[in-house]
């Protein structure tokens, strides 16, 4: 485990460093002609981008791990429960219809959307539902939220809404300011800090609600706390950099192999792995031809889909055998 921690920390530092300096050509060019501008480029453009990629990745990893522990299901994650789509709907409604421009207020809209999606999931599927029920309910909510988002964009007062949002909705960290990054990451960090404190309780929930309750944890309250904190963290991040699929599924899955299967202890490793994954995906995106932007979500989905199918196939085997 200690070796795993060192590896994770090392990878985080490398990815963060690479994210700040890639592509190196423009920085070294500027350093020769205008060193001050080179510094500004790193500080004003690369720094918020790096922080957001790492932060959003960490949020997806940790909330994914918390949701999976809460729903006792390795497939629950911010995207599959519909909370990411709900956050996008909330942010679009706030930004294009309510005319909200303040990043913090938009983050609140995102959190409200994510919270509504999770509340709907509870209402439709319940917490200890079968995998199929959970997935179908999540898919239904994600599809409905997606359609709602499209409708709001199509009818938005601004004719450019659809065009603006294409890049944002599938995930992008380009051209975000430091205040925007702060609006996403400060609430997210607070929520994640509180989530991390539930690790022990979530481990006990692995033995079932009754055992957790007999020890003095309150399963229902714990589930509500996880939902609210997840909504805040995911909503704030999605409102600034869009909904990104599969990181919240992959990261906890990988993290649990480091914690010998314990779902609660996996929270912090999942955050580290999520941060590394998403920042790496954002590095890959920079290989796109000049003038063309590839949404980060395309990369994470390309990597995540096979893994998702593999987990589903494995679960089917354990259920039928």
């Amino acid at each position: 485990m200690t070796r795993a921690w060192i590896l994770l920390a090392g990878a985080l530092i490398v990815v963060a460093g690479l994210s700040l300096i890639t592509p190196i050509a423009s920085i070294s060019e500027l350093r020769r002609t205008d060193p001050e501008l080179a510094w500004m480029l790193v500080q004003e453009l690369r720094l918020p981008r790096t922080l957001l990629a790492l932060g959003h990745g960490a949020v997806l990893g940790m909330t994914g791990a918390a949701l999976q522990a809460t729903f006792a299901n390795p497939l629950a994650s911010p995207d599959i429960t519909g909370s990411s789509s709900g956050a996008a709907l909330g942010a679009v409604a706030g930004g294009y219809w309510l005319g909200i421009t303040g990043p913090l207020a938009l983050a609140a809209c995102g959190a409200a959307g994510a919270g509504l999606a999770l509340a709907a999931l509870f209402a439709i599927a319940g917490r200890r539902s079968e995998t199929a029920t959970l997935l179908l309910a999540g898919v239904a909510i994600a599809l409905a939220a997606g359609a709602g988002t499209s409708l709001l964009l199509a009818l938005a007062p601004s004719p450019f809404a659809f065009y603006d949002s294409f890049e944002w909705l599938m995930g992008s960290f380009v051209d975000r300011s430091l205040p925007q990054a702060a609006a996403a990451l400060v609430p997210a960090a607070l929520a994640c800090g509180l989530l991390a404190r539930r690790a022990k309780a979530l481990d006990m929930m692995a033995l079932g609600d009754d055992v957790a309750a007999s020890v003095g944890f309150q399963p229902r309250r714990l589930a509500m706390e996880v939902v609210v904190l997840t909504a805040i963290a995911v909503g704030a991040c999605v409102s600034v950099c869009g909904a990104i699929a599969f990181v919240g599924l992959i990261a906890p899955y990988a993290a649990r192999s480091l914690t010998r299967g314990h779902p609660g202890r996996a929270l912090i490793p999942a955050a580290c792995i999520g941060a590394i994954l998403l920042a790496s995906a954002d590095l890959l995106v920079r290989l796109a031809p000049a003038g063309r932007a590839i949404p980060v979500g395309v990369i994470t989905t390309a990597i995540g889909t096979p893994l998702f199918i593999w987990i589903v196939a494995k679960m089917r085997r354990t259920v039928t055998s």
Partner: protein
């Protein structure tokens, strides 16, 4: 002498009417009753899981006010379901029963419940009987003052039924604790010091095994009666 357990006026809406239970001496107590009599509700209410009213104190410490690490030393509950979703190893599941790490204790339980061969296997891949033993070890781990075991003998083969009774007996004797064990098989009841009979959400008999087994309350609750050394269905009156 202080009371080991003072449960007053515990109840669960619709399933358990107001019930009191007081224990002074360390004892092994069987909880019996027909299906749906309220055995599980009774144990869950004592464990502080869903009691709608009443209070439970162990060694005069109210469990509702005890933090998790303390509560694990006061009482443990083993539910009737043996489901564990996550692939946690048997050894780690046992450790979850401890408020602070104690590898020697885990090792001793692995030994006594003969789990060495499966201790590194994920618990969700074990047979139900094996999982029962692992979950029992989890419940015993912190040497709690009160053990609440819901059907620990179901899913076990005859050897393990007898062995688990022995192990629980030894645990209660060495640590001076008590165990409340819900049991379906009336043949096992003789191994206990005291028997509580529940019917329709209420306590209807409480006494030594032979007295309760021969009581009319038991024959009424289960709708069976003695026939030689066995039982037969009671003729409708």
């Amino acid at each position: 002498m202080t009371a080991l357990l003072n449960a007053t006026a515990i109840s669960v809406d619709g399933r358990l009417s107001r019930t009191d239970l007081h224990l002074r001496l360390p004892q092994m107590i069987a909880v019996i009753g027909p299906n749906g009599a309220g055995k599980t509700s009774f144990l869950r209410a004592l464990a502080g899981i869903e009691a709608t009213t009443g209070s439970v104190a162990i060694d005069e410490e109210v469990i509702a006010h005890a933090p998790p690490s303390r509560r694990m030393r006061l009482m443990s509950f083993m539910p009737a379901t043996r489901n564990v979703v996550w692939p946690i190893t048997a050894r780690d599941v046992i450790s979850l029963g401890l408020p602070s790490p104690d590898p020697a204790r885990v090792e001793a339980l692995i030994d006594v419940l003969e789990l060495a061969a499966i201790s590194e296997r994920p618990v969700n891949h074990l047979s139900t009987g094996e999982r029962s033993r692992v979950l029992l070890a989890r419940a015993l781990a912190a040497r709690p003052r009160l053990l609440l075991l819901d059907e620990p003998l179901s899913n076990l083969d005859p050897f393990w039924v007898l062995r688990v009774l022995e192990i629980v007996r030894a645990e209660t004797q060495t640590s001076g604790s008590s165990a409340l064990v819900s049991v379906h098989d009336l043949n096992q009841v003789a191994a206990f010091d005291r028997v509580l009979l529940l019917d329709r959400g209420g306590l209807v008999a409480d006494g030594a095994p032979q007295d309760v087994l021969n009581s009319s309350a038991l024959s009424q609750a289960f709708r069976i009666e003695r026939e030689g050394s066995g039982w037969k269905i009671r003729e409708p009156a």
